[in-house]
Subunit: 220 residues, 2 copies
């Protein structure tokens, strides 16, 4: 873990604040929230622990910055997953024909979920920092808020709005649908990551995720 400290650079670092956040994020990637230790962050940058206090009031501010950064990455992962074109699956039996527009939107919604869960699996450390106990949430997402902050919640809300517009779900059922959608994706992610499903082998895990997204989209 503790590499030999970087060779001493110039006395003034120049951009220590960013360097600290960067190093802290790297530690978070590898080891989650518990690995984000102020002293170790300073060590990585090659600076004394006290130096950090010229740029952050305390530890909370540092971890908060890491959290913010990780949340941005999660948002970006979801956006990328949803915008990469995917062929629609064969029409599922038993429910008759559906509108192509609705099906496409549903597919995009599913891709958002896959992006979310995929990020959790590919960046478990960052995912744990985002939802871990350290640091507060920037803004409380609220249904019906006129302008929710950009992020996973807004992407989800917009996709659901689109699905209503495409006729995929009755408008009367729209309010509060973010909750089940988010809960399902988050639930399967966290159960597989840190919960009792963490012992599933990758194939079974894949199945669990697919079943979950299938079911929740069917149920919206």
């Amino acid at each position: 873990m503790s590499r030999p400290a970087a060779e001493p650079g110039p006395y003034h670092h120049g951009d220590l604040a960013n360097a600290l956040v960067e190093a802290a994020s790297a530690l978070a990637r590898q080891g989650g929230p518990d690995a984000v230790v102020l002293r170790e962050v300073a060590r990585q940058v090659g600076v004394s622990p006290a130096a950090a206090y010229h740029h952050f009031a305390n530890y909370q501010q540092l971890i908060q910055a890491v959290k913010h950064r990780a949340l941005d990455l999660l948002t970006e992962a979801m956006r990328a997953a949803a915008s990469s074109p995917k062929p629609p699956p064969p029409n599922p039996s038993g429910h008759g024909p559906r509108s192509a527009a609705a099906e496409a939107t549903r597919q995009r919604l599913r891709a958002l979920g896959e992006g979310y869960v995929g990020f959790a699996f590919s960046e478990p450390g960052l995912f744990r920092v985002i939802f871990g106990p350290k640091g507060a949430w920037p803004v409380a997402p609220r249904t019906g808020s006129d302008n929710p902050p950009a992020g996973p919640f807004r992407l989800l809300a917009e996709a659901l709005d689109d699905l209503v517009a495409a006729g995929g779900i009755p408008a009367g059922r729209r309010p509060g649908l973010e909750y089940p959608a988010w809960a399902a994706a988050h639930g399967i992610a966290i159960l597989c990551l840190d919960g009792p499903l963490s012992r599933l082998d990758p194939a079974d895990r894949q199945v669990a995720v697919a079943r979950t997204l299938d079911a929740i989209i069917r149920g919206l």
Copy 2:
């Protein structure tokens, strides 16, 4: 936190192992995993920290016992919620009539979910211990296992089997349905407890839970 130590009892406690687990569980109830501190547990019981080592090999064994106990309570809460009789809700519009047996089973499934989430809200400390990072999971729940260990997972699996038997879902869709059901319940619980939804006021939270259970049961 640290009350004045209990008055010294007899030199030999008599049932220190149980007393330690009990005290540790009480701390867990109030403060979650982080509150389960060996030294504090010993303090509560009125015994030196070293005494614990005559009954537990190490801290892991102690927290494991607490986890086990909490898991039993969760199981019991679910069982109780599912067995208390509830009148079926008015037939939801739009999907035509359903068999009464299926509807009753669906209702029981929902009650299981409510029991799960209700436990998370009424015993957040214990819930966090169950799913927290400390201590390992007793047994990995696996779909298709012949005899899964008693617990939430088995209750869920049985209810789903019953729903198939009652004709509530096609048998072909049964495999792996535990995952979406569990994920949805767990997801909404953990998002409301420690996640970004923790700022919802109780009424909104109630709505979020209801929507989630509605959607996932509809989607199974």
